[in-house]
Amino acid sequence: MESVSGLRYAHPCIEARVDPELVMAEFQLNINSKLVKVEAPAEEPLLSVLRDRLDLTGTKYGCGEGQCGACTVLLNGRAARSCLTPISAAANARIVTIEGLADGGDLSAVQEAFLEESALQCGYCTSGMIVAATALLSRIPKPSDDQIIEAINGNICRCGTYPRILEAIKRASHWSVSGGSQ
């Protein structure tokens, strides 16, 4: 049996699109309220740009195929899979990563709630979970359990911390609705 190896084994961040030239272009990104310039091929996913070119490694690679949610960032306030978002598509958006959620030294309500509920084990999914929950709560401040599950069912936690994550999101929702984060 013979076959030609091709794109079967996608590498981190990338299901490579054929572009033998790999033309570098300069992009201006609005990340965590800062304007940054970065050079990258237009097709390169935002995920590897953040991680490899800007050292914003809080956003994680989990599958590169939009199936696990580890790479979730906010694009104009909405949760987006940075592994499937080419840098060219992110250039005009307000990008917020996990590093941009805390206000100075103060954690966001969702971050604080994850700590209060001990809603993590290895923590590798935590960035994506927190960012996805942040997007949800900005859209629906007081979501039902079903709404939470629908919003974050695309985020995988292999340690199985789902019940605590659910509680953390509800706690953050409660704080936000009741007007304080503690």
Partner: protein
């Protein structure tokens, strides 16, 4: 390490900068020169099995090598900060927190003053690895003993300084206090300027568990803030100056041979280097995106030999034994005689499929060569094992290889090996620069190793009154963990049959305990139904082990077992077991959707006992997580393979548990302060599958004897009648 041989040796190291150089040999367990240089002034305590060190009392340790059989060491700096050094690694199981609690408790210091230095081969004592639920029962007591010895030494130093009886002094909050004079000294101040070695009591009195103030409490995860802010650096996050990105060309199937290759177009890409070393073909590029492009530009043809597939895999495993079969692990009485005379008989086959660990962080490594010394940052449960792999691959001495383990995105038994570390080191050597390799999800699904598939055959017999008389159990390939039965059965024959596996297989959280519990507890349930006895009552009738009876009863009580009967749309199931010192009982409530007949787990109650609880919050997190992870193997996880290829190497095709699969979970902890703490990272997984299968049977009358239960394998959907003689 047998407790009786442990000795705690204490060094008082006032001016580490002036330490004479330590002779280094290739057989020493750590690069002690580096270690001693790196450590600051203060008190250094080591736990060792080497009695020779007891002779060193009162002498300088300068010209002597440090003892080799060291389990752990700790250092108290002048500022009172305590560093604890251990070869264990944190992978999400929370030992960075729980071990620090034990040290803080015995040393009488605040929890926050402790920093755990873990899995860094140049700094920590040798350790086989973090697996088998061994950290809590072995490393825990070692650290307690070491910390208690250090506290005793500090008390004696203060007594000497103040010329008072040591028994009049007390240690608390990092200080020694003399209640009579109200004088007190911090640990850091006490050790300042001292420079001599001293032997601590080899069997220090440990703090009774009943009086624990820090251990035994729900201390939050150490460094938790770094995880919710994205600041924590996992292995795949490590970056080094000048670092390049590597990628490895994978064959088109297992055991493939390269027929032809053309790398010309890949080599034309900017900054790309193609590396060939025998059958190894990789690329190095300035960024990961370019590296992937270069890999795709390589034209390679492979020849893949014919190989087995899922189809017929269980027969394959049974008919392809490994040479030199192991003897039965347990034989008592005569199963055949008991079988012939029995009132109730039941024999059946159970199967489990190959499944993948699929840790969310795939294998990753950064390798850097400096003057012939190789440093690798990588995610592994065995940093010293990976160091050995690197030594062998690159013909290096121990002193030339350092493996550093940043707390990783977990492993579940799936990261015992050093593939990515070797690949990164190979590419870094060729590139002359540091190189990062991060496996793709597809690579992780394909080129890691799997939990073994297995076939289990059981025949069991009982009297009409429900007392078991015979138990014969054969496990083909899945593994021998927890293969025995905890039930009282006079006639037993239990054997593991290793097989020649078509897929690469290895450790998985709980090992074969999951498969063996699924088979045994499903079979026990079937026997209970055959005897027309309630499944809980049937188990208790055949069980004398008090700890297992206790969790069984606790789980049933909390669940409300027996308060409602199963219906065609709602089933209740129960299962229990013991492995690695952890006792577990699980009750499951399963809803059968009337139209689709699909089963959904609605509620799970699990009781757990593993001796004295070190951190109840961490323990609950582990147990609930194990239940959720167990749902995957129980209901839908299965690796599909044929022709040397994995056919479902994506999360879209290989379903793992998600939020929507998660039931309501209740955990009942039985805290036995009178018993030593056992590990709890694995055995919490084993009760879920049989409890769910038994609940499905209770609702539908269909006995599913395969994991995953939704695979629909005809062999194991057994609706046939129970054998009654």
């Amino acid at each position: 390490m047998s407790p009786g041989n442990d000795l705690a040796t204490v060094f008082l190291d006032g001016e580490s900068d002036h330490l004479p150089a330590v002779e280094h040999t290739s057989t020493t367990e750590v690069d002690r020169r580096t270690f001693l240089k790196g450590i600051g002034a203060g008190l250094l305590v080591l736990l060792t099995r080497t009695p020779a060190w007891t002779q060193e009392s009162g002498r300088t340790f300068g010209s002597h090598d440090l003892p080799k059989d060291i389990g752990a060491w700790l250092h108290i700096a002048r500022d009172g900060n305590v560093q604890v050094f251990t070869g264990k690694v944190e992978v999400g199981q929370n030992i960075r927190t729980s071990l620090a609690q034990l040290v803080a408790e015995e040393l009488r210091v605040p929890f926050d003053s402790i920093t755990m230095i873990m899995g860094n081969t140049d700094l920590v004592p040798w350790d086989m690895g973090t697996f088998g639920s061994r950290t809590t029962p072995t490393m825990g007591p070692q650290l307690r003993k070491m910390a208690a010895a250090a506290r005793q030494v500090l008390l004696e130093m203060a007594a000497e300084r103040w010329s008072v009886d040591v028994a009049t002094l007390s240690a608390a909050e990092g200080r020694i206090t003399n209640p009579a004079t109200s004088l007190s000294l911090s640990y850091g101040n006490l050790t300042r300027g001292e420079k001599f070695a001293k032997t601590a009591p080899d069997d220090p009195a440990l703090t009774p568990v009943e009086t624990w103030k820090i251990a035994g409490t729900p201390v939050p995860k150490a460094e938790g803030r770094d995880f919710v802010t994205g600041r924590h650096k996992y292995p795949s996050d490590i970056a080094r100056p000048g670092m390049m990105f590597g990628a490895v060309l994978r064959p088109d199937g297992f055991d493939a041979t390269l027929a032809s290759i053309d790398t010309a177009s890949a080599e034309k890409l900017p900054g790309v280097k193609v590396v060939r070393d025998g059958s190894f073909i990789g690329v190095v590029a300035p960024d990961a995106f370019t590296a992937q492009h270069a890999l795709s530009a390589i034209q390679a043809k492979w020849t893949v030999p014919p190989q087995p597939s899922n189809n017929g895999i269980f027969e394959y495993l049974k008919t392809h034994p490994e040479a030199g079969e192991a003897p039965p692990s347990h034989v008592s009485g005569s199963v055949s005689e008991a079988w012939d005379k029995a009132d109730l008989k039941l024999e059946a086959q159970y199967t489990v499929e190959y499944i993948a660990h699929a840790p969310l962080e795939p294998r990753a490594a950064v390798a850097e060569w400096n003057d012939g010394k190789l440093t690798v940052w990588t995610g592994t449960q065995r940093p010293f094992g990976v160091r050995d792999e690197l030594m062998q691959t690159f013909k290096l001495s121990q002193a030339q290889v350092r493996v550093i383990h940043p707390d990783m995105g977990s492993g579940y038994g799936g990261k015992h090996t050093g593939e990515a570390a070797i690949e990164a080191a190979r590419l870094a050597k060729a590139a002359g620069k540091p190189v990062k390799v991060v496996w793709s999800r597809t690579e992780e699904f394909t080129w890691a190793y799997f939990r073994p598939a297995g076939l289990i055959e059981i025949r069991a017999a009982a009297r009409y009154d429900g007392s078991l008389t015979a138990w014969e159990f054969h496990n083909y390939n899945s593994g021998p963990a927890a293969i025995g039965t905890p039930y009282v059965v006079p006639n037993q024959f239990i054997q593991f049959h290793p097989a020649r596996t078509p897929l690469r297989q290895g450790s998985y959280r709980g090992l074969a305990s999951t498969a063996n519990h699924f088979a045994r507890e499903s079979h026990m349930d079937a026997m209970a139904h055959a005897a027309a006895i309630d499944p809980l009552e049937f188990r208790l009738k055949n069980l004398s082990e008090p700890r297992l009876r206790a969790v069984l009863q606790a789980s049933a009580d909390k669940f409300g077992w027996g308060k409602a009967n199963s219906t065609s749309e709602l089933g209740f199931g129960i299962a229990c077991g013991v492995d690695k010192g952890g006792y577990v009982a699980t009750c499951a409530e399963v809803v059968i959707e009337p139209k689709t007949k699909k089963a959904r787990i609605r509620r799970v109650t699990q009781a757990w006992e593993s001796g004295a609880v070190v951190n109840p919050d961490g323990l609950r997190n582990q147990l609930a997580g194990a239940i959720v992870q167990g749902i995957g193997g129980a209901l839908f996880e299965r690796i599909l393979f044929s022709g040397g290829r994995i056919e479902n190497p994506h999360f879209a095709q290989y379903r793992v548990p998600r939020f929507s699969d998660t039931p309501a979970i209740e955990i009942v902890l039985l805290d036995r302060k009178d018993l030593p703490s056992a590990g709890a990272g694995e055995t919490g997984l084993v009760g879920l599958a049989p409890a769910v299968g038994n609940a499905i049977f209770a609702a539908t009358g269909v006995r599913i004897r395969s994991m995953p239960m939704t695979s629909g394998s005809a062999l194991n959907r057994d609706t046939g009648p129970v054998f009654r003689s």
